[in-house]
Amino acid sequence: MSKYIFRRVVSSLLTLLVVITLTFFMMRAIPGGPFTDEKAIPSFVLEKMNEHYGLNDPLYIQYFRYLWNVLKLDLGASYRYEGMTVNELIAGSFPVSFTIGAIALVLSLLAGIPAGIISALRRGKWQDRLAMIFATLGVTVPGFVVAAAFVYIFAWRLGVVTVGFWEGISTAWLPAVTLALYPAAFISRLVRSGMLEILQQDYIRTAYAKGLSERAVIYIHALKNAIIPVITYLAPLTAGILTGSFVVEQVFGVPGLGTFFVTSITNRDYTTIMGVTIFYSALLVAFNLTADIFLVVIDPRIKLR
């Protein structure tokens, strides 16, 4: 067990190292320096700036310095926002994304799991059909379309919400619902197929034969195993919510990390792009790791490699 966890931690760290290395060299591969601009910067200013950011050193020194700084959790200074570090920028905007993302995560689980159970239990009936129509729509309509449609209906037509600024939880609901649609649809499909498979197994028949109520069989015995694919899906789910937040935040005009990331792409703010990429990746790798360990703890059938 501890050996497995150790190996997973090592491979996660390796993934992070690959991520940092890849990000660093990809950013350096862009033709032109970070200060290349339409209007020419005087050469002595450029020289001074290169000197200041350490861009005159050999590449491998720059790489190891960057790696060391990342290890110290220092993502460097922004090239575009003067006097701001990437850390400060992330600290300022991530809480907004986190609020929206956390609500979306909870919503998608709260909607997806019951929908999956119901459609599996009422297989072929109207409840199943309805749930699966929604599940199919949820995975086929792109997030930005849903976001735009919501803004149009709720903000412009009905006027029940305001978009374009941030006031904490009250402005987080609509973006969160938008973000939750795709994962909720996906989760309901996962739970449905898991349930259908498990309900045919011998141990379920045994549980019924013991005289347990249907409620106990389904919610205690069957659900426990049907939920496992959902836990495996948690890490990609987080990834989906994170990347989905890029467009959703933009459409709703929410000042979160997603909006900020997209802006830094348009601004060619390289250190910020690198910093946010590494931040996101670290978050995901951590989620992956947690989900994997959690799975091993709850499911004794998984063989430890």
């Binding site: 991520v19 792109p142 735009a148």
Partner: protein, 303 residues
């Protein structure tokens, strides 16, 4: 005890009467037969063919050019001469959506085929070689799997710069890992079959066995994965165009048309409706077809 009459050859007519075996069907005929009974999958196939035909031939028959601007008729609602209305530059939206279909479908198909190519070679070699080589190759895939791909696609687009060619390359080199895994699993399953042994005995080289004997037998799983990866690529292209990393104006893709429309959503909502509808219907069609194909090509999975 020996009756020569028992060993008399039958006459031709008698033989025909004794044949009760149904005509043998190939794997693909069988699959097609099953697919034909799946109404949703057929609907998906029909919609995809329709969209393809419209994308290729539609713009030729339109009286408008996709990039012809006319400020006298900007932002018109849908009417008889402009079925989907016009955009802020007075460009006909119907022809732009059709033209966008070309770009979006081209991205979907081409990127998926690059993925297919890389994934089949990588997964094939990994599964066929086995042992340490397989172990190392799969560890690499594991690492790629745990990297948030979308962020890397964005990063790669920043590096190679926006444009159609960049999208092909970026999506092509980014999403081959699932294909590699599936091909590997199939190769592992098939490589101990007897037909592989037979090929080995006749002196076929390993590469020939892999690509002429094993991979064709894994085609079913590969085709299903391909069908699901095409809408994935269309989705990703739409997303990239939406954040401003897609094709550049005056070209049009569905994602870019949607992105343009969001800016003026409050006043001209139909500008979003048509490209968004086109994306959704196409992805829906691919999903239906993929589900049907999976059921048809792999009877073991059917419930």
């Amino acid at each position: 005890m020996y009756d020569p009459a028992l060993f008399e050859p039958l006459l031709q007519e008698q033989k025909a009467g004794a044949e009760h075996i149904r005509p043998s069907k190939t794997y693909w005929q069988d699959a097609w037969h099953r697919l034909k009974r799946d109404k949703l999958a057929l609907l998906g196939l029909v919609v995809i063919v329709l969209v393809l035909v419209l994308a290729v031939f539609g713009p030729m028959f339109s009286p408008y050019e996709y990039d012809a601007q006319d400020f006298m008729i900007s932002n018109e609602p849908p009417n008889f001469s402009h079925w989907f209305g016009t955009d802020m530059f007075g460009r006909d939206l119907f022809v732009r959506v059709l033209y966008g279909a070309r770009i979006s479908l081209a991205v979907g198909f081409l990127a998926s085929f690059i993925n297919l190519f890389i994934g089949v070679i990588y997964g094939g070699i990994s599964g066929f070689a086995g042992g340490r080589i397989d172990n190392i190759m799969m560890r690499i895939v594991d690492v790629i799997y745990s990297v948030p791909m979308m962020i890397y696609v964005i990063l790669l687009m920043v590096v190679v710069g926006p444009g159609l060619k960049s999208i092909f390359i970026t999506l092509g080199v980014s999403y081959w890992a699932p294909m590699a895994r599936i091909v590997r699993a199939e190769v592992m399953r098939l490589k101990n079959e007897e037909f592989v042994l037979a090929a080995k005995v006749t002196g076929a080289s390993p590469m020939r066995i892999l690509f002429r004997h094993i991979i064709p037998n894994a085609m079913g799983a590969i085709l299903v994965t391909l069908t699901f990866s095409i809408p994935g690529a269309i989705f990703t292209e739409a997303f990239l165009s939406f954040v401003g990393l897609g094709v550049s104006a005056p070209m049009a893709s569905w994602g870019m048309l949607s992105s343009d429309a969001v800016g003026s959503l409050a006043i001209y909502p139909w500008q979003l409706f048509f490209p968004a509808g086109a994306i959704s219907i196409t992805i829906l069609a691919f999903n239906f077809l993929g589900d049907g194909l999976r059921d048809a090509l792999d009877p073991r999975l059917r419930k």
